[in-house]
C-alpha cells in the first residue's frame, strides 16, 4: 500500500525528529546567523530550509502553503548562491566557469529532481483520494481537472531522496531500472476503463496521440500485467 499509515503527529514528536536544529529553532534571538558572513548565512539558511522541506514532507498531510513557501524560499536562496556550489562536500575552488556551471547544473538538477519527485509523490498521495470522491469534485464538463497522474517511479525515490537530497548521484542510482512500464501515459487508458472517476480528462487528452502500434503494445502489456495482479483500482 502506498500510504504512510501514519497518524498526524503531535508537535512534541515532530520536534524530536529535528534534534540537530532544536537549539537553533528555540532560540528566537539566534545571533549566529545574523552575524555570519553572507555566504555562510545563505548556506545555513539553505540547510534550514532543506530541513524544513524534509520535515514538512514527512508529515502524513503536509500543509501545502507552508510547503510551497519553503520551496520557493529555497529556490531564492539557491539562486543567490549561484557562484558557489550548493553541495557541501564538493570543494569550490575558483575553477573554470564551465566547471562551476556544471556543478551548479548538477546541483540544480539534483535538487530540482528531488523536489519534483517529492512534490510528485505528494500529488500521488493526494490523487489516491480523488478517485472515490464522486460528484463534488466535478467541474464544468470537458475541462481537465488538472489532476496529476501518479508517477510510480517517484515513490522509489522517496526513500533515498529524503535521505540525501543533495546527492547528485541520484539519477545514477536508478539507471539500471527500466521505468518505462510505469510511465503514466501507458496506464491512463487502462485506468480509464477500470475506474471512471473525475480524473479521466488527462487520459482522454493523451489517448488520441497514441498510434496503432503503441496501442497494440499497450494491450499486450495490459493483458500481461492484468494476469499478474489485480489492483483495486489504480486511483489517481
Amino acid at each position: 500500500m502506498l500510504s504512510k499509515g501514519l497518524k498526524r503527529k503531535r508537535e512534541e514528536e515532530e520536534e524530536k525528529e529535528s534534534l540537530a536544529v532544536d537549539a537553533l529553532w528555540l532560540d528566537p534571538g539566534h545571533a549566529a546567523v545574523a552575524q555570519a558572513p553572507p555566504a555562510a548565512a545563505s548556506s545555513s539558511l539553505f540547510d534550514l530550509s532543506v530541513l524544513k522541506l524534509h520535515h514538512s514532507l514527512q508529515q502524513s498531510e503536509p500543509d501545502l502553503r507552508h510547503l510551497v513557501l519553503v520551496v520557493n524560499t529555497l529556490r531564492r536562496i539557491q539562486a543567490s548562491m549561484a557562484p558557489a556550489a550548493a553541495l557541501p562536500p564538493v570543494p569550490s575552488p575558483p575553477a573554470a566557469p564551465s566547471m562551476a556551471d556544471n556543478l551548479l547544473a548538477s546541483s540544480d538538477a539534483a535538487l530540482s529532481a528531488s523536489m519534483a519527485s517529492l512534490l510528485e509523490d505528494l500529488s500521488h498521495i493526494e490523487g489516491l483520494s480523488q478517485a472515490p470522491q464522486p460528484l463534488a469534485d466535478e467541474g464544468p464538463p470537458g475541462r481537465s481537472m488538472g489532476g496529476a497522474a501518479p508517477s510510480l517511479g517517484a515513490l522509489d525515490l522517496l526513500g533515498p531522496a529524503t535521505g540525501c537530497l543533495l546527492d547528485d548521484g541520484l539519477e545514477g542510482l536508478f539507471e539500471d531500472i527500466d521505468t518505462s512500464m510505469y510511465d503514466n501515459e501507458l496506464w491512463a487508458p487502462a485506468s480509464e476503463g477500470l475506474k471512471p472517476g473525475p480524473e479521466d480528462e488527462p487520459g482522454k487528452e493523451e489517448a488520441p496521440e497514441l498510434d496503432e502500434a503503441e496501442l497494440d503494445y499497450l494491450m499486450d502489456v495490459l493483458v500481461g500485467t492484468q494476469a499478474l495482479e489485480r489492483p483495486p483500482g489504480p486511483g489517481r
Binding site: G5, P28, R76, A136, D137
Partner: protein, 447 residues
C-alpha cells in the same frame, strides 16, 4: 481618536464546565452575526460556543448589553480518512452566519474537509393539558378521561436547540481555509489551497468548481489560495488571495470557471526591502471586503493594506502592524512564526481597521486621523470596567516606563482571530483559549 475602550473581559472562565487548559480549547475562529446580537466562536476541539448579548437593562443603564453564553455544541468530530490513513482534524477553521430569515438562526461551520449548516432555534413554550397523556407523558387510562380539553401553550425555561441541517462533505481534497455566504442568500463558496467550490445551501451532493489553480504537474506548484470572500452586495463577484500576495477579483457571470480573473491586485516588490523572506511575508493571510463594498482589506505578515477595487496597481493605504519584526525575520522563519496567519477586521463604518499581533497585542488603525493604537488582551491588564491602556513596543533608543522591548515579546501569545460588531464599537478578541469582549462605552456611535 477617542477609542478608549472600556473592557469587560469575558474569558471562558471559572464555573463554566468547558474551561480546561488543554489544546483542544484553543479558539480558532470568532464571528459576529449580522445584527451583532450573537457571537460565535469555534475551537480546536470542534466545539462551537455562541454568546448572546443581553438586552439593555433599564435598571442598570450603565451595563450596556453584555454577552453571555447562549449555546454550546459539538460541531465536528475527529475523523479518519481510511484511504489516506490520515486523521482529519476537528478544529473549526471558519464560522459564517447566514442572514436571518425567520425566527431561527443558521450558521455554517467548517473544519479542513467538511462544512456543516447548523440551525439554532429557541423553545420557550410547551403545550400542556393533553387528553391522552399525563404530565409526565405517560398514556392515561382512558376510563379516567371524562372531558376533553384543548392543550394550551405555557411558558417554560428557554431551551436552545441546535441541529445539523446539511452536511457538505467530499468537496475538497485540500484543506479548507475559507467559507463565504453569497449576498443572494442561496449559495456560498468554500476555498481550499488549490480550489474554490460554489455550493447551494440546500444541495449537499454536488458543488461547482469555480476556481482551480492546481497545475498539471504538482512539481510546478508555486502558489496556493489563502483566503476568499464574496462581495457584500454583488452576488457575482468574489475575491481570493494567494500565497504570493496577489488578489484576484473574479466575476462569475464572465465564465463558468473563474480561473481567469477580472482584476488582479498586486503591489510590486519594494527593492529596498527585498530579502529571502519577501515572498513569505507578502503572503496574504486574510482578505475582507469593506461593508461598503468599495474596498478590500488584506493582512500579510507585517502590514495591513486597504485596496480600492478600482485600482489594481497598489493599495491605497498601508499600515505597519509590527515593523520592528522586519529585522528578526530569520529567527521567525526558524521558529515558524513567520507562517502565522493573522486575520483582520473593519469596523461598522469602515473607518477603523483592526488586526492581532504577538504578546497578546492587537492593533487598531483609524483611517481618517491616521492614528493607531496598540492594546493588550490579558487578564492582568483587563479588570472588569477598566480602561485599556495603550501599549508600546520599543526598539531600542529611548525607552519609556511601560514599554515592552522587542526581545521580550512572547511569540507564543498570538492574536490571530478578531471580530468587530457590525454596528457598534464592540470587539471580540481570541487570545489562545480566552475570549475577550471589549466595549467602547464612551464613544458608542461610529465616527
Amino acid at each position: 481618536m477617542g477609542l478608549s475602550a472600556s473592557s469587560k473581559p469575558l474569558p471562558i472562565q471559572e464555573g463554566q464546565p468547558w474551561e480546561m487548559k488543554t489544546p483542544a480549547d484553543i479558539i480558532s475562529t470568532v464571528e459576529f452575526n449580522h445584527t451583532g446580537e450573537l457571537l460565535a466562536t469555534g475551537d480546536k476541539g470542534g466545539r462551537v460556543v455562541i454568546f448572546q448579548r443581553e438586552p439593555e437593562s433599564k435598571n442598570a443603564p450603565h451595563s450596556q448589553g453584555e454577552y453571555d453564553v447562549y449555546s454550546t455544541f459539538q460541531s465536528h468530530e475527529p475523523e479518519f480518512d481510511y484511504l489516506k490513513s490520515l486523521e482529519i482534524e476537528e478544529k473549526i477553521n471558519k464560522i459564517k452566519w447566514l442572514p436571518q430569515q425567520n425566527a431561527a438562526h443558521s450558521l455554517l461551520s467548517t473544519n479542513d474537509k467538511t462544512i456543516k449548516l447548523w440551525k439554532i432555534t429557541e423553545r420557550d413554550k410547551r403545550p400542556e393539558g393533553y387528553n391522552l397523556k399525563d404530565e409526565e407523558g405517560k398514556l392515561k387510562d382512558l376510563s379516567t378521561v371524562t372531558s376533553l380539553q384543548v392543550p394550551v401553550l405555557k411558558p417554560m425555561d428557554l431551551m436552545v436547540e441546535v441541529s445539523p441541517r446539511r452536511i457538505f462533505a467530499n468537496g475538497h481534497t485540500y484543506h479548507i481555509n475559507s467559507i463565504s455566504v453569497n449576498s443572494d442568500c442561496e449559495t456560498y463558496m468554500s476555498a481550499d489551497d488549490l480550489r474554490i467550490n460554489l455550493w447551494h445551501l440546500a444541495i449537499t451532493d454536488r458543488s461547482f468548481n469555480i476556481v482551480d489553480i492546481k497545475p498539471a504537474n504538482m512539481e510546478d506548484l508555486t502558489e496556493v489560495i489563502t483566503a476568499s470572500e464574496f462581495h457584500p452586495h454583488h452576488c457575482n463577484l468574489f475575491v481570493y488571495s494567494s500565497s504570493k500576495g496577489s488578489l484576484r477579483l473574479c466575476d462569475m457571470r464572465a465564465a463558468a470557471l473563474c480561473d481567469k480573473h477580472s482584476k488582479l491586485f498586486e503591489e510590486p516588490e519594494d527593492p529596498s526591502n527585498r530579502s529571502f523572506f519577501s515572498e513569505i511575508i507578502s503572503s496574504v493571510s486574510d482578505v475582507k471586503f469593506s461593508h461598503s463594498g468599495r474596498y478590500m482589506l488584506t493582512r500579510d505578515y507585517l502590514t495591513v493594506k486597504v485596496w480600492d477595487l478600482n485600482m489594481e496597481a497598489r493599495p491605497i493605504e498601508t499600515y505597519q502592524v509590527h515593523d520592528y519584526l522586519r529585522s528578526k525575520l530569520c529567527s521567525l522563519y526558524e521558529n515558524d512564526c513567520i507562517f502565522d496567519k493573522f486575520e483582520c477586521a473593519w469596523n461598522g463604518s469602515d473607518s477603523v481597521i483592526m488586526t492581532g499581533a504577538y504578546n497578546n497585542f492587537f492593533r487598531m488603525f483609524d483611517r481618517n486621523t491616521k492614528r493607531d493604537v496598540t492594546l493588550e488582551a490579558s487578564r492582568e491588564s483587563s479588570k472588569p470596567r477598566a480602561v485599556l491602556k495603550p501599549r508600546r513596543v520599543c526598539v531600542g533608543g529611548k525607552r519609556r516606563r511601560d514599554d515592552i522591548s522587542v526581545d521580550s515579546l512572547d511569540f507564543t501569545k498570538k492574536i490571530l482571530h478578531t471580530a468587530w460588531h457590525p454596528a457598534e464599537n464592540i470587539i471580540a478578541i481570541a487570545a489562545t483559549n480566552n475570549l475577550y469582549i471589549f466595549q467602547d462605552k464612551v464613544n458608542s456611535e461610529m465616527h
